[in-house]
């Protein structure tokens, strides 16, 4: 119980600092952020927007108000000129599901491809197959996802015309179209992830395969396939969880860039428009939403560990 409490306090502290950092971004803008946000406007209009953003208040009070708004879903406004505005929360509500779908797609691809490859590579450790897979993985990690996206959209999209090279079809307009429009971006994101997952899984399984119980299972005459998938893979679930936790940050970064290459209307595109239109309030909110989401995902990974492996729970209790 005390452990749980400590974890919660830690989480709150991290969240407070992360949100504080996001909030502080607008203070770093050189010059007057309001002029940058609204563009040309009368002094009265500028003052009105300044008041609305809350830049009149003392710094910490500003943060307090901003945090209150953030918690209640008021993420500020996107300003278009002195009069046009739209709620940032609406934009995020529309973009976030798209990004999550893309990331989930990439994750699924990663797991579906990385696990068999990792097992194969470990089982055939030292053979030509293993070396080929390892070398490819090493090369894949050196290929930036945006570069891969461009190469893929050229060969698969432009030359072979198999898949759309840009644009997004909403799920409501048909599942197949939706998946097709996300395939190239998801593959671009997945390749580097696959390599990372696969390499970790491989070395993990090489070690597992030396364990006594595997050797015993072998001697009992249990089919290799069953040994690999049932007995050898299970202990690696924690490794997979670790690597998932480690790579989610890279996946988020990659998604932001790749969305812009494929014109996918997700958080990355939203971020792009916010930067392009100097919407620093929107930028604050987008960064805060992504950061909070990232922290929460990591907490979820943490909890999963505890569920999967009682030893950690015990170790923590002692600590």
């Amino acid at each position: 119980m005390r452990v749980a409490l400590r974890r919660v306090i830690q989480l709150v502290v991290v969240l407070v600092f992360v949100s504080f950092f996001s909030f502080s971004l607008i203070q770093l803008v050189p010059g007057d952020p309001v002029v940058a946000i609204v563009g040309f406007a009368s002094p009265a209009q500028l003052a009105q927007v300044r008041h609305q953003i809350g830049l009149d208040d003392p710094f910490l009070l500003q943060y307090w108000h901003w945090l209150g708004g953030f918690i209640h879903g008021d993420l500020g406004q996107h300003y278009s000129g002195p009069t046009g505005r739209s709620a940032v929360s609406t934009g995020i509500a529309q973009s976030l599901p798209v990004t999550l779908e893309l990331m989930a797609f990439a994750m699924i691809l990663t797991i579906v491809i990385a696990i068999p490859l990792g097992i194969l590579s470990a089982y055939r450790s030292g053979t030509l197959t293993d070396k080929l897979i390892s070398a490819t993985a090493f090369g894949s990690i050196a290929m930036p996802d945006f570069a891969l996206a461009i190469v893929l959209s050229f060969w698969v999209g432009v030359k072979l015309k198999w898949l759309p090279t840009s644009g997004f079809t909403h799920l409501s307009d048909g599942f197949v179209k939706n998946i097709k429009s996300l395939t190239l971006p998801a593959v671009s994101l997945a390749v580097g992830q696959i390599a990372a997952y696969m390499r970790l899984l491989r070395s993990d399984m090489i070690a597992t395969l030396q364990e006594d119980y595997i050797l015993m299972a072998k001697s009992k005459g249990i089919p290799t396939r069953r040994i690999l998938w049932r007995h050898a893979l299970r202990p690696s679930s924690l490794t997979l969880l670790t690597v998932a936790g480690l790579n989610i940050g890279a996946l988020i970064g990659g998604t932001i860039v790749v969305e812009n290459l494929f014109e996918i209307p997700g958080m990355g595109k939203l971020l792009f428009f916010a930067i392009f239109g100097r919407q620093f309030v929107e930028l604050q909110s987008i960064v805060a939403v992504i950061a909070v989401g990232y922290v929460l995902v990591n907490v979820a990974v943490d909890i999963l560990y505890t569920v999967l492996d009682p030893r950690i729970r015990d170790a923590r209790a002692l600590a």
Partner: protein
Amino acid sequence: MLEHSPSTVAAPVDAPPPATEPPPPDTEFVRARSQRVGLGGILGIIWLGFVAICAIVIPMVVKNPTNPGLLAARGMFKVSGHPLGGDSAGNDMLLQLAKGARSSLIVAIGAVAVGLVLGGTLGLIAGYYRGRIDTLLTSTFNILLAIPQFVLAVALVSVLANDSISKQGIPVPVTTGRRLAVLVIALGIVSTPILARITRANTLQWAQREFVLAARAQGATNRRVMIREVLPNVLPAMFSIALLGIAVAMVAEGGLSILGVGVHLPGVSWGSLIAQGRNSLQSQPSVVFEPIVCLFLTVLSLNYLGDVVRARFDVRESVL
């Protein structure tokens, strides 16, 4: 930041160290071959040297032809004397790539240098002194790492490199030099906590070794012990991560360029060449593929050499 080998990614903030520590995977590929630099390493060094020389020499030697029509949208080996062809504005691609190499290298190496100095110092202090100061510094790193690194970089660059508009409404443009500086600082800040963690973890190990304890017993100042005894032993680990860090920073600059906040004209980087060239992907793909190949080979070389250094000095990333 973007894709990179998992060992360079800091552990998630709240994730506990896994009970069964996965064996270090990254070095496998390299270690399987050789403890020495090996053929791959030599090729990597040759490529990096080649890039560095080109980045310095070519802009001094090669000039764009006076007539833009000569090279505009011409592919590779179409015009004699200009083997890589020209971009859609008639610039010699060889020259553009060399200029791009300059900016990409400056940004990436500069950023990692900033990270090494800041992160190295802080990590050394945290690992050496332990206790409160360690807790404080480690928490700070954790908070910085709680924001996905690329998002952090985007946020910092787009805020810091914004053309400021004065109260009189007069825009104060950001010069190419200042933009480079902002990129270096932003990516440096992003890489600081990672390098700090590595340094701290290694320092923790070395600071308890007999010779260090002996030096302290002989009355050497903490500063002297840190610099003379601990640092030299921690350097290989820092160096191997730094090599990977340069690759990551270079890729990150590319991502920033795609978002329009990387290097701006009149400067060019490999990333900005890719970003700008992708509009002519259909008509003239070589304009995009040339910088992609450069970036790929460079990242590959840096990753490989980073692994070689790690294998050589037996740097254990599981200490992360």
